[in-house]
Symmetry: C2
Subunit: 365 residues, 2 copies
């Protein structure tokens, strides 16, 4: 189906210090980003897509170095939901991440060593403020923002913090704040990393052994929350991998799946980054910050599209409706769709056709 | 409110070998048990209550050694759901447990050392067969069985395996088999134990350091599944313990709760036992064993009471209904109630009043 498009990751260096919500300062920040399509002359055709917990700047096309497609490649491209024939799509790795943007594995210029846990705790607000520097650098004044899950939280914050910049906001499988159960899962995941004997208070970068067990457990917990019982039933049921082992090896297919997910994750992600990013998610709470969701959205000038998935129990339809209700109350232009899906929270990364139809229609409107 | 009743834990020694479902043999088994009330002359007023994952034989009264009430003390006693004025209530620690009945921490008579992982994997069927030896020893021919959660699985197996013995079966917050999501949670919990650096392949009994981190994580995961988002919201919401720490200490009240639950659990439970017992739960599947639930229940001569709780997402009302439907199909005498509760799966240990009313009425019938 046509030529393959290749992408490359570019870097913007922010050389002036950045003050964070915590009051701490980062002396300089690298931002890893990719772009797809062309910025028009008026510089008003940009869409910033915002990645979820463990994503990267590589959202679309095939990466010229790795030859791997981006995490939303089915959504971004010619004729796709985010149509690169029309739009200039931007994706950047979040602050605190481990895919090129400054994070705990980056070198602290003051010590010449990795920050590790000396890296300051960052928030969704900090992450968005750093993205704003990239958007300013690109000379973009008006913007569409779109994100799923934690990416949706960033989109919410964009619409609140930069009302003059954001003209449309697409929130998918997200919520204005994590519920207590979500915090609980993140807390246990972090606990698994923090208590891994190889964690060494975050100073494992030059060590032979890294906190793989803890990070792997964290990832397994994550995957349980990304699926739903229906998805697990459809994928694995109670099927054994072979026969009951009568020992503590891998017995059930679902165990095998989780073990695999844990294993591949430790090869691609930094345990410290997992701590920082889950903490940013836990902390985000514009309701507490602004007094109410209505107050939070009061000044936004954006149109909104809110999409939830019927089997998503991490970011529920009910939570989406809370945002929709607040936006309606504040007389904002908002469209809401709950999509039927058997995929749980993962649906935002899987249900392309359903999302594409709705997003295209919203972007036309 | 009357005198305090005290209980003591007794022990039955099974000196002949017991062949397990795996084909392996245990040379001898101790069974720790308690009884409340008096066995009548006909020996037909007995109720066997069956404990959940981490319970013990100490189900009721105050223990004469520890002065602590039993785990179902609000349900067992004079005038209570299981009325000791009328009934002789029996409770025993399960095979593989760590509260007196033979388990991985018991001495292997062949080596003179703890079994650890040389202990054979046990199943719900094995657990019930061992309980039957206790019931035979007590000279009881007819019996009521009652249990919640994993205790309910044992009650199901009792009704299937010993149709001539069980006259009434009370199944609370349980299911004929764990769903894929439940297996997933148990798998991650076991993984946390198995990968703890102090686990040492189960040989930690004479070591200074034990796999506390892993066991603690396992328990935290368990507690997330015992509560529900509504219960978490009511208990903790998104409240901070004090203020945001901007580090990776305990921030939210829900984190504090989980950390506490993990901490106290390692002082009272054996990590190896946790492996064996969760595995027994994962394996139990009378549907696969008998071809269908109808076929499994075909020969039972018991009446059934099935109780589920509206917010229980570990053992759902839907799963209870599957059992009820199968029992109805097989023309068995079955009563079913879904109780409204905000407590999640934990409700079977908390909602005494609601359960008492229903159980009393069932036992009268």
């Amino acid at each position: 189906m046509g030529n393959i498009n290749y992408s490359e990751t570019k870097f913007l260096k922010i050389k002036e210090p950045t003050v964070l919500k915590s009051g701490k300062t980062l002396p300089c920040i690298d931002i890893a980003y990719e772009t797809y399509g062309k910025l028009n002359e008026n510089k008003d055709n940009a869409i910033l897509v915002l990645h979820a917990l463990t994503g990267s700047a590589h959202a679309a096309y095939y990466h010229k170095d790795t030859n791997k497609p981006g995490w939303w490649d089915d959504m971004i491209g010619s004729g796709k939901a985010f149509d690169t024939d029309k739009y200039f799509v931007i994706s950047s790795n979040i602050l605190g991440g481990c895919y090129g943007t400054t994070g705990p594995a980056s070198i602290n210029p003051e010590t010449g060593k990795q920050y590790a846990l000396d890296f300051p705790v960052v928030t969704i607000e900090d992450i968005v403020n750093v993205q704003k520097k990239l958007i300013d650098y690109l000379g973009i004044k008006k913007l569409i923002v779109a994100g799923g899950s934690m990416g949706g939280m960033q989109a919410i914050e964009w619409s609140i913090k930069y009302p003059d910049t954001v003209k449309s906001t697409i929130l998918i499988a997200t919520s204005a704040r994590l519920n207590a159960q979500g915090i609980a899962f993140n807390a246990v995941a972090r606990n698994a990393i923090l208590t891994d004997v190889n964690f060494n208070n975050g100073n494992y970068y030059d060590k032979e052994k890294t906190p793989d067990s803890g990070l792997s457990i964290a990832r397994m917990i994550g995957h349980i929350t990304y699926l739903c019982e229906e998805a697990m039933y459809n994928k694995f049921g109670r099927e054994f991998k072979t026969t009951p082992s009568f020992d503590f090896g891998i017995d059930f297919q679902v165990e095998s799946y989780l073990a695999h997910q844990g294993k591949v994750f430790v090869d691609r992600f930094d345990a410290n980054s997992y701590l920082y990013i889950t903490k940013a998610v836990d902390y985000y709470d514009p309701i507490k910050e602004h007094g109410s969701l209505e107050e939070a959205f009061k000044n936004t000038n954006s149109r909104f599209l809110v999409i939830s998935f019927s089997t998503d129990w991490l970011f529920t339809t009910e939570q989406s409706k809370q945002m929709v209700n607040a936006l309606v109350k504040m007389n904002k232009d908002v469209s809401f769709v709950e999509l039927e899906s058997k995929c749980g929270h993962d649906a935002f990364l899987l249900e392309f056709e359903k999302q594409t139809k709705i997003i295209k229609s919203f972007l036309k409107g």
